[in-house]
C-alpha cells in the first residue's frame, strides 16, 4: 500500500488552512477553503481504493470479483455538493461586502470586534 495519497491529503489540508488563515481576499479565501475540502476527497478515495479493483458496477460481473469501495464514492459526491453550497454562499457574501465597503479584504470589513 502506498502512503503517497495520505501525504497528499495531509498536505492539501494544511496548505488550504494556511491559505484561509492568511488570505487578504474573500474570493481567494473561498478557493483555499475548497483546497482544504479537497483533502477529504483524496483521503476518502484512497481509503476505498483496492489494487486492481474494478469500478463498483456489478452488472454482468462474476460474483466475488474485486471492486473498489462504492461507499466512499457516494460520500465524496455528497461532500462535493456540500462544499459547492458553502462556496457559493461565501462568494455571494463577498459580493455584498464589495458592494457595501468597496473591498473584499476580510481584514477591512471588520465592523464589530471585542
Amino acid at each position: 500500500m502506498s502512503y503517497l495519497p495520505y501525504a497528499v491529503a495531509a498536505w492539501l489540508c494544511l496548505v488550504g488552512l494556511a491559505g484561509v488563515a492568511t488570505s487578504r481576499n474573500l474570493i481567494h479565501l473561498a478557493v483555499c477553503l475548497t483546497v482544504t475540502q479537497s483533502s477529504s476527497y483524496v483521503l476518502l478515495l484512497s481509503v476505498g481504493y483496492v489494487k486492481h479493483g474494478k469500478a463498483p458496477i456489478f452488472k454482468g460481473v462474476p460474483l466475488g470479483a474485486t471492486a473498489v469501495d462504492p461507499v466512499v464514492q457516494a460520500l465524496t459526491l455528497t461532500d462535493v455538493v456540500v462544499s459547492v453550497v458553502v462556496v457559493a454562499l461565501i462568494l455571494a457574501l463577498a459580493l455584498d461586502a464589495h458592494r457595501l465597503s468597496g473591498t473584499v479584504d476580510p481584514d477591512e470589513i471588520v465592523d464589530v470586534s471585542g
Binding site: V20, L33, T36, L44, L75
Partner: protein, 605 residues
C-alpha cells in the same frame, strides 16, 4: 412509533420547499400559517416521541435497510429520551421564534421562514441520527441555513462580516469532521455509530483513532463555540435579527455539544472509556469557556453581543458537565440545555422588543429608556435570575446535578469555577437590566468600549404578540427547575444515553429497552452545597452588577488598583476577539493541534 423520527425532518423540509416554491403565488397569511403549523406539528410529534421513547428505543431504518447478523446495512435514526427531549425543545424554540417573526421581520424577504424550517429539520435530524456521515450532512445543512440567516440584512456591513466569519470558521469545522469520518471509516469499515463503537471495543485503539477523535470533536466544538473555537459566535449573534439569534443562541450552538456527547458515548467510550483523559480535557475546556465568556459578557454594551457571550458561558458549563462522564453530569447538562435554551431565547426576544420601542440595542444608549415598560422588565429580570441559577429557578437544577457529579468524582473545586462563570454572565445581564429599565448607574462607561452601529428600526409590529412570546419563553425556562419528576427523568435518560453496549444491542440486535421503574413525580432535591453556591452566586451577581453601575463611587484607591490590575488583561481579551476571520482559523488550527497533542500524550503512553 418508528414512523415519527423521519417525520420530524420531513415535515419542516417539505413545508420549507412549499413556502419557497410558492413564494409569489400564495397570499402571505397562508404562507405564515403553513410555516407555523409545520413547526408546531413537528414540536407536537417530538413530544409524542419523547413520551414513547422513555420505554422504547425508537429505531428507524431508512428504506427498510436494517441489520443482518448485527451488521448495519443502512442508515438509521435511533432515538432515546434524551434525543427526543432535545428535538422537543428545539421545536419549541423555533416555533416561538417563528411566531415572534410573524410581524417582526415584515420588511425582510419571505424566504426567511423557509430557512428557519430548514434549520429546524437539520437540528432534529442531527439530534436523532445514528449514522456518522448523516451527522455531517445535518451539520452542514444547519450551517448553511444559519449562515444565510445571519447575513440576512445584507444592506449593512456588520451582518456580512458576521456571516462571513461564521461560514468560514464553521466550514473549516465541517471539513475537519469529514476528515475524521474518512479516518474512522478506514479504521472500522463502518459508518453506523453503534457498529463503529463495537469494532473499536476490540483490541487496542491505536494512533489513528486518536487523530480521528481529535478532528471529529474539534469540528463539533467549533459548532458549539467552545474556547478557543468560539471567536466567530459573538460576531454572528450580534448582527442577526432577534428571532434568529434566539434560535442560534438558544439551540443551535448547543447542537455541537449534543454531537460531542453522542460521539463519545457511542464510539470513543469503547477505546478510551477506561480513563478520564477525554473527559478531563472537556472539563477544562468547559471551565475556561465559562469563565472567559462570562468575563467577555461583562465587557459588552451591545445587548445581543452580551447575550451571545452569556450563551457561550452556559455552553462551557454544559461541556464541563459532559466532561464529568457520569450520569449526574450529563443529566445536569441536559436540564441546563432545556432551561438555558428557553431563557436565552426569551432574553433575545426582550432585546428585540427594546429595539422596536426605541430603535436602540445598546445598553448605554438605552439608559433609563425602559422605565415604565414593566412587562419586558419583569421578563428580562426573571430570565436573568434564571440564567444565574438562583436556587430552584431556571438553570439551577441542571447546575445542581453537575455539582453532584463533580463532588462524587472528588473534584469540588469545579463547582466554584463553574458558578463563577454564570455569576459573571448574570451580573452583566443584571447591570444592563438595571441601567435600561430602572435608569440606574451612569450613562457613560469607558470600560464597555465604543458603541456599535444600531440595527435598522422595525416599526410595524404587533407588540403584544412579541411580548407574549417573550414572556412564554422566560416563564417556561424559569420553571424547568421545579417541574416535578423532570430531574429524575433526565437522570434516567442520561443513564440510557451513556450505556454504549446497551445502545449497540438495541440498534444492531433490536433488543428492547428496559423501561424505567416507576420514576417519582417530585421535584428533584439538590445538595445543600448547591443551594449555598446558588445563593452566593445570586448575591455576587447583584453586587457585581452594582459595581458595574456605580464604579465611580468606589473609593479612588480601590479604583486605581483595579484599573492597574485589570486593564491589561481586558485589553488582551478584547484584542483576541479581533473580528478577523484569518485569526479565527489560526486559533482553530492551533487548538486542534494542541488538543490532539494532549490526547496523544495522555492516551497513547
Amino acid at each position: 412509533m418508528t414512523w415519527i423520527p423521519p417525520l420530524l425532518v420531513a415535515i419542516p423540509l417539505v413545508a420549507a420547499a412549499v413556502v419557497a416554491g410558492l413564494d409569489h403565488i400564495t397570499p402571505e397569511p397562508v404562507q405564515d400559517a403553513l410555516v407555523v403549523i409545520a413547526s408546531m406539528a413537528t414540536t407536537a410529534l417530538a413530544f409524542a416521541l419523547l413520551w414513547h421513547a422513555e420505554s422504547h428505543e425508537v429505531v428507524h431504518w431508512f428504506g427498510g435497510w436494517g441489520t443482518r447478523h448485527g451488521v448495519a446495512l443502512g442508515v438509521d435514526f435511533a432515538v432515546g429520551p434524551l434525543a427526543a427531549g432535545m428535538c422537543a425543545v428545539i421545536g419549541l424554540v423555533v416555533t416561538l421564534a417563528l411566531l415572534y417573526s410573524l410581524t417582526f421581520l415584515r420588511e425582510a424577504a419571505r424566504l426567511f421562514d423557509a430557512l428557519m424550517l430548514v434549520a429546524l429539520a437539520a437540528m432534529c435530524g442531527f439530534a436523532m441520527s445514528g449514522d456518522l456521515f448523516n451527522l455531517f450532512v445535518w451539520l452542514e445543512l444547519m450551517g448553511v441555513a444559519a449562515y444565510a440567516l445571519t447575513g440576512f440584512e445584507v444592506e449593512r456591513l456588520g451582518p456580512v462580516q458576521g456571516a462571513v466569519n461564521f461560514a468560514i470558521t464553521n466550514s473549516v469545522g465541517g471539513y475537519l469532521f469529514a476528515v475524521g469520518i474518512a479516518l474512522l471509516y478506514a479504521r472500522t469499515g463502518a459508518l453506523n455509530l453503534a457498529q463503529i463503537g463495537n469494532t473499536l471495543s476490540h483490541g487496542p485503539a491505536g494512533g489513528l483513532a486518536i487523530v480521528a477523535m481529535t478532528v471529529l470533536f474539534c469540528g463539533l466544538l467549533i459548532k458549539g463555540a467552545v474556547v478557543p473555537f468560539h471567536l466567530w459566535a459573538a460576531d454572528a449573534y450580534a448582527v442577526a435579527p432577534a428571532p434568529v439569534c434566539a434560535v442560534l443562541g438558544g439551540v443551535m450552538t448547543d447542537i455541537g455539544l449534543i454531537g460531542v456527547a453522542r460521539l463519545y458515548w457511542t464510539v470513543f467510550d469503547a477505546p478510551f472509556g477506561h480513563g478520564h483523559a477525554v473527559g478531563d480535557v472537556f472539563l477544562w475546556l468547559g471551565i475556561v469557556t465559562a469563565v472567559l465568556a462570562g468575563t467577555m459578557a461583562f465587557l459588552q454594551r451591545h445587548l445581543k453581543r452580551m447575550l451571545a457571550y452569556s450563551v457561550l458561558c452556559h455552553i462551557g458549563i454544559m461541556l464541563a458537565g459532559i466532561g464529568l462522564l457520569d450520569s449526574s453530569g450529563l443529566a445536569g447538562a441536559e436540564l441546563m440545555f432545556l432551561a438555558h435554551a428557553l431563557l436565552t431565547a426569551g432574553l433575545f426576544f426582550v432585546a428585540g422588543i427594546l429595539h422596536v420601542d426605541h430603535g436602540l440595542i445598546d445598553e448605554l444608549n438605552l439608559h433609563g429608556r425602559g422605565r415604565g415598560s414593566w412587562m419586558p422588565a419583569a421578563a428580562w429580570f426573571a430570565g436573568t435570575i434564571g440564567l444565574v441559577g438562583t436556587p430552584y429557578v431556571g438553570i439551577y437544577l441542571g447546575h445542581g446535578l453537575i455539582d453532584e457529579g463533580a463532588t462524587e468524582l472528588g473534584r469540588p473545586w469545579v463547582l466554584a469555577l463553574l458558578w463563577l462563570g454564570s455569576t459573571l454572565a448574570g451580573a452583566a445581564l443584571l447591570r444592563a437590566g438595571a441601567r435600561i429599565f430602572l435608569g440606574w448607574g451612569e450613562a457613560e462607561d469607558p470600560l464597555l468600549g465604543g458603541a456599535l452601529e444600531e440595527d435598522p428600526h422595525e416599526r410595524h409590529v404587533l407588540r403584544p404578540l412579541l411580548l407574549a412570546v417573550a414572556v412564554t419563553a422566560v416563564v417556561l425556562g424559569a420553571a424547568i427547575s421545579v417541574v416535578p419528576g423532570l430531574g429524575q427523568r433526565a437522570e434516567y435518560a442520561a443513564d440510557r444515553f451513556r450505556d454504549r453496549a446497551g445502545y449497540a444491542a438495541r440498534v444492531l440486535r433490536g433488543r428492547p429497552a428496559t423501561p424505567p421503574q416507576r420514576l417519582p413525580v417530585t421535584i428533584r432535591h439538590t445538595s445543600l452545597e448547591s443551594i449555598l453556591y446558588g445563593a452566593v452566586a445570586t448575591g455576587l451577581a447583584l453586587g457585581l452588577a452594582g459595581v458595574g453601575l456605580y464604579r465611580r463611587r468606589l473609593p479612588p484607591g480601590v479604583t486605581a488598583v483595579a484599573q492597574r490590575a485589570l486593564a491589561p488583561p481586558i485589553q488582551v481579551l478584547r484584542e483576541l476577539h479581533s473580528g478577523v476571520v484569518g485569526d479565527y482559523v489560526t486559533w482553530v488550527a492551533v487548538g486542534t493541534a494542541v488538543l490532539g497533542g494532549v490526547w496523544a500524550l495522555l492516551l497513547h503512553g
